[in-house]
């Protein structure tokens, strides 16, 4: 069906203008013959379709790799984790349940869990601490602020993060972008554990409402 690279690129061309990707990865633009969204691709992957997997890879690998790299702060490890996560996606695709969320979210959940598992293993964690210490201080959502982007979802995420209280935002970004446990977050922010738990939850609820996340809509993408 496709030459590995050229079709992969073509797959991205359609959404070049919003290269951050959108939540449902609906076909964006006229470039291809109505490329399938991740939910439908994942359904085909679950039936053992390797070509569908390749298309899913093209749609989602940059999100997977970017997330792993942010948590691990290391390109080589991010590649390893991205590979593990994507192969797990292939292996366990039949377990994906569209009623619990979008395919994109499912893939990113697998990725995030593997990334934090690795970063919390003693050695990798220590290495990362050094890399973080060596890097200039930055807040996670400012990491990419200079990146020129017209992507709506990226803008929306930034805007909604700014709408949180400082404590909500710090608690959420330390956990999600840096892979800290809520205990570690509580320590870092010098805040009581129950407060951190609560801020993570009410902060995410506020984000959910700001981003307009609805399971129904995620499901609706694929029918």
């Amino acid at each position: 069906l496709r030459a590995p690279q050229s079709r992969g690129k073509a797959g991205s061309v359609g959404r070049h203008a919003n290269r951050g990707g959108d939540p449902g990865w609906q076909p964006a633009g006229p470039a291809n013959t109505a490329p399938l969204g991740p939910d439908e691709l994942l359904r085909q992957v679950a039936r053992g379709d390797e070509q569908a997997f390749a298309a899913l890879y093209d749609a989602i690998a940059p999100r997977v790799f970017g997330l792993a790299k942010r948590v691990l702060r290391d390109s080589a490890q991010a590649e390893e984790v991205a590979q593990e996560a994507l192969v797990e996606v292939w292996r366990t695709a039949a377990r994906f349940d569209a009623s619990k969320g979008s395919a994109t979210s499912w893939v990113l959940t697998i990725t995030h869990r593997r990334a934090v598992d690795r970063v919390r293993s003693a050695q990798a964690g220590a290495d990362r601490e050094r890399r973080v210490a060596a890097a200039s201080v930055e807040t996670p959502y400012d990491d990419v602020v200079e990146e020129v982007t017209t992507n709506l979802e990226q803008q929306q995420v930034r805007r909604c993060l700014k709408g949180l209280t400082d404590l909500q935002r710090e608690a959420i970004t330390l956990a999600y972008y840096d892979g800290y446990t809520y205990r570690e977050v509580a320590e870092k922010l010098d805040t009581a554990l129950p407060t951190i738990k609560t801020r993570m939850r009410d902060g995410l609820i506020r984000l959910r409402d700001c981003l307009g996340v609805e399971l129904g809509s995620a499901k609706g993408v694929t029918g």
Binding site: R70, T104, R201
Partner: protein, 249 residues
Amino acid sequence: MSQPTEIHTLAGAYALDALTEIERAAFARHVAECSSCAIEVAELNETASRLSAPLWETPPARLRESVLAEVGRTHQALPGRVERAPADGVVRRWRRWTAAAVAAGVVAIGGVATVWTVEQTRIDDLRQQAASGQADQNRLNAILAVGDARIRTSSVGPAGRMTVVVSPSLGDGVVLMSNLPPLPAGRTYQAWLIAGREATSVGVMPEGAQSGSATLAQIGSADTVGVTVEPAGGSKRPTSDPIGTVPLV
């Protein structure tokens, strides 16, 4: 002590992967029993995933080749399938316990002191097997709720991890392992409580398993938890040096 309703405040931390493995498993069990919670958790999970939108980055081209090549030689799991273990006597006992232990999150207790569980922390899998005794959950909560509970982690191999949670006051603990390196056929992982040169087995994993957990019921004077590679079925005493250890003191 965490109240039954209080655990739900962990929904945010759960969606952000900010829980330890034990808490994650305990929370997943809570969700499996609470359908209204499941909707909130699914939504928060979807929300958390959106946070990765600004992190978009093109991976090196070799990743694509490498992933597609591995996919080409990787079998797919059937829906909801739990890893299989060979069915000899010991393993049958394991399997019997595994369902309860999985549902409890990590730990099961009873006639046998220690139980390996196939790590199945996904809500899906927990749901399918959510029929366990309250005693298991109580034990898990008890260890976590004690003020002196300590958590230690070591790496095992490139991606593996051993985590030990111990409460000195209870003299009780749990060891969890995940993503241990794959072993050749006929070999398996076995965990030990080590006191000086003495090692006491605390559990043998089913052949092929790379993740599991065991309770550490009789810590006594042991100062280390170690895991070794043994012939399938386990050994009376370690036949090799530990590939991973976690100090208890």
